[in-house]
Symmetry: D2
Subunit: 364 residues, 4 copies
């Protein structure tokens, strides 16, 4: 009997369970393979007692419809930075990667499939360099990885953000309000860009196109001059003004900026008011609503393709590689070429042109 271990790491993303189910269903077609899952990314392997779960047909029945991941996930711990609390309350982080690889051998694990974001895949690459038979499956709800055309979870987030715009539009129109909707996107504005086009916003502010507050005001005032006292502004949480007046210091702890949820929406609202814009403004913050719930059909299908491919890469022993979607194919790319290669919105790309073509202002 051969054994493949699956782990899911990082923030939540609709489609994780569909990947797990596809791996298990594909593995069942091989007579001599079984699938196990490590609970909460690799932490399940590192804990005593070990926390693993057998993933058979029964365990994965119907899970492709559910958000979350049945084997848990976390941003903390992992083989290269295991936290140990000192007597004085401070934390040390120790490298337990060699120990983990030995433990996997002891558990009879022949291959590992690691589903996770860029941080997780850096760990995959490092483990591969230490000799582990590992395959990566990319996961980023922000769609900000250049190695793959699309990642699962993104379309679900776009759909949820677009439906939020739909809900706000009628209120804005009947109550003469400017409604500011903050969506995910600390470094990449894909969700904001898609939701602005899909939902019908007047203004879309994203990290890749620093905005000029006066340009935003102009666009909103132009709308007012037409007798329409309402507008929808979609703003990515990492949007920033051209003049650099907002600086988000990188936080060392989580690798993210120090933005509070809703911070950028609130800031913009305040700025517009200070600039003399008299409209009745309200802000809405989607937050975790974008990461949860039932994946769209699109994401379930893409996630299923990723899962089937990942297991087949195990069979083909294509270790050190990552699944990717290069339209219209599902392919394998070396982890070494994929990690750390972000995919930002190019201000001159077709989709931005489309957005400008229907009158959306980026404040540039």
């Amino acid at each position: 009997m051969k054994r493949v271990l699956v782990a899911t790491g990082g923030g939540d993303c609709p489609g994780l369970n569909a990947v797990i189910r596809a791996i298990v269903k594909r593995a069942q077609q091989e007579p001599d393979w079984e699938v196990i899952g490590s609970i909460e990314s690799f932490n399940g392997i590192l804990r005593e007692p070990t926390e693993i779960r057998v993933l058979d047909e029964r365990a994965v029945a119907g899970i492709h419809v559910q958000g979350g991941t049945i084997i848990g996930s976390t941003n903390k711990g992992g083989p290269f930075a295991w936290p140990i609390k000192n007597k004085d309350g401070s934390w040390d982080f120790v490298d337990r990667s060699d120990e983990m690889i030995r433990k996997l051998q002891y558990l009879g694990v022949d291959a590992v499939i690691s589903i996770g974001g860029d941080g997780s895949q850096k760990i995959s690459q490092a483990l591969f360099e230490k000799g582990l038979n590992i395959i990566g499956v990319p996961k980023t709800i922000d769609n900000d990885l250049s190695a793959t055309d699309f990642t699962f979870g993104f379309q679900t987030a776009v759909q949820i953000a677009t439906e939020a715009v739909d809900k706000l539009v009628t209120t804005a129109a009947s109550h003469n309000r400017v409604l500011v909707l903050e969506v995910m996107g600390r470094f990449a504005g894909w969700i904001a860009l898609h939701a602005a086009i899909g939902g019908g916003a007047e203004v879309c502010l994203i990290p890749e196109i620093p905005y000029d507050l006066n340009k935003v005001l102009e666009r909103l005032k132009a709308r007012y001059s037409k007798g329409k006292g309402n507008a929808i502004v979609v703003i990515a949480e990492g949007a920033k003004p051209k003049d650099g007046s907002i600086v988000f210091a990188e936080s060392k702890e989580v690798g993210y900026s120090n933005l509070r949820l809703g911070g950028v929406a609130h800031k913009l609202t305040e700025e517009l008011k200070m600039a003399g814009f008299e409209a009745d403004m309200r802000e809405t913050v989607l937050g975790h609503l974008q990461r949860g719930g039932i994946p769209t059909a699109y994401d379930r299908i893409l996630a299923t393709q990723f899962g089937v491919k990942a297991f087949e890469m195990v069979l083909e022993q294509r270790f050190g590689q990552m699944v990717a979607y290069r339209h219209p194919n599902i392919v394998a790319v070396p982890l070494s070429e994929a990690v750390g290669q972000p995919n930002f919105v190019d201000p001159g790309c077709d989709l931005v042109k489309t957005a400008k073509g229907i009158g959306i202002s980026f404040g540039d």
Copy 2:
């Protein structure tokens, strides 16, 4: 030709358009009636030039599916407190009610249907006392009016809040998080109570049942002791601790408390952390998402019943009365008995017992 004027006042509420459509469709069955709408509550009548819109079959086709109101709404102005800006920038508020009643006569308006919340119905009652032929249709998304068993919009808000809990549950479970969801309800906790039962929360905090932070901690820790590091807390925006440590001063301007959107969720999260609760906590704030969008079938039907009844009350000249739902009938109640009679959650009611019966803690 006889003429009925419709106005919609106050905050947004799914079902407003369904009421308008039902009034128009019912009026069409009478040979000699037409319906007109005043834009942005009664302000359309008071403005120069007058802003009214003829509401015929074409104007209302398909609008019952849409959020918002096709004749606009507002919280500002109105016949008894029309704002006038002084030279020094300050505001005076003048009574233009007599002028408005004359203008309605001049426009040939035989009756008025005013769709709005408690504030609007107080205005309806005052106008009725001045001799205006007016009928009220209650509108409160919080379901906090004792004169009627249910109001339209409420079930839609509950459905949206419940679906938000659904989205958060899988993330909470797979990422071991306590997720705090703030829903509407400054004075009445109906939406929070329903969403906590419907979605499956562990804790529900509402204005009517001041909470003891220690009791909330106990409930969450009890769950942790069972090995579940996750929970959903649904909190109404007006929830407050027993010890009175949070006091919301009433704001004179809007008649509402001075809560910032997300304030109570953020406050609770901070308090729990300070009390030593180590869980990974995140807050989500629904805000205006609860007020907008497509009404549920339930709300469309109730709103349609209200609209048909309101017009029939015009035919029957039952002025000074308000439509109400007294299960299973749609009835008329005197405005004088209906206004200012709030409907709060009784801590001993069946629904709270049901909630406690499935283990939901109110922190009491």
Copy 3:
């Protein structure tokens, strides 16, 4: 340790799992009770080996969001008509009720909660008369039981049917079509009536109001004469013409009429064409889509109330009674008074008046 056994019988209905979860959650608050489930109604008890499932917190976690029932259901078998195949291929039905009651004693079952429709509750009543400690929970997606104001599942079916009308309306309008939608309702037209009002149909045909084909034609032609070549007709599967030209023979096997799914929609379409109506007509049949999927918040809450009440009735030993919703309370009613008391649409009721008030024709 005391033991309550739960069984679900009859057709699918959104909310069954929410009832089961509420029973289990409420029982957990009593120190000495456990809940078990019989698989596929009472058949699990009658089979060898017995098929029962322990229903603990883990078993019911999150199930209130799911359609179906985790303990299975069926229309076949049961204690009073257990099928036995003869050598010649024919079937005999034997009474195994005494045997079942003995088996329940042997299993240490102190009380039984039977969730099911009118047929199931007749069995409950018969078992109660034989001395079994049994409580009934009503289940009918058609809302056709007079003992309770509403049953869970109904609002979900109405929501699904209304959303189907929403989807058809835009196609009908842009393609000048008459679209006929068949919804559930063999004997009671509640779903059709609600969906016609909620969705905005022109014609609604239900079993309780036999239709005159000429009146239906008149309504559709009147719409044509206004230049609108489109309409939505919502038809309950048991709708029938006044002239008695369609007669549905009762089928002995399932207790239902011999209608084929889609039969009534197809029949009406043909009839209208034969009557010379030249419109482009298409039919759509919802079928099982109305019975499945995620319950609305309303149904989850009502089902939770039913479940909590049912278990409390066990504690109070109110056997031979059934849970019912008598607005605004959840009450207990004797099974003997509840079974066989259908709830049909009264042609003169307020809701039919509302429907006619917005111009919906019933063909009468």
Copy 4:
């Protein structure tokens, strides 16, 4: 002032309105262009009096969220086959294309954008050959056009079909049923293939892979032998058995086969029963529910890209060409190369392999 005329032809498809809105919004950015729409494809031009509608900002506000098309559509008539009724009741079809081109000149139309399926684009090509300045925008809900990677409407249909599977799955599981779902796809099985993967079906039958009834039975019986008495079968309306026992004669009138809605699902159900499969089987037919309603975000965005591109092709005078999506770009392709080039499911393609990888049987 220059003028572009827009027409929408053929069956309904979510996203049509988003294309129209994008054309209008993009045209507004050019100082000297206006957009008009011909009602019900080109028939609005051919009728007396002419039926056209000015498409300005107000006309298209918010329409991208709606199904259908605000300028109407039809499968009948058109410039090359205008129907004329003879005295004996028979029909003749006359070529009015020259007359239509003259009428467009008379109306001051500088360019035409024709949004429609393969039949419509054949007409576009023929009109282009006669000298008309025409641009095509492809529309096929079945995604069966090889010139473009995806068409708008398809993802919405897939989402609706997948959600239907979701609704059926819980009923099938709790009631031990085999549920057969018929989805669109007379010649191409893309919707069935996607919904089977996205929803989680056991069997998927499509026109491109003729099925062997015995293989279908084997798959279902294999599931039964595992103790699971339930399954979902997704079947495209054009699916057919290998042995040729079902032959769909082509209908001359509409260019489609003579299938009755639900025919193939009913046929398969009967066949399985006759083959001795004893399961409780039910069929469900989606029909027009797949064509209507609110487009998904994906389809709104793709439709918006098509609309912006189409108008820019007018500006660039790229007549005789059609908009297409060649990932990741929106491009122009000659109509002459695009029409009549269908896109069928290749039985050896990656997506079929994915489906087989998770155990879906195609009966081959």
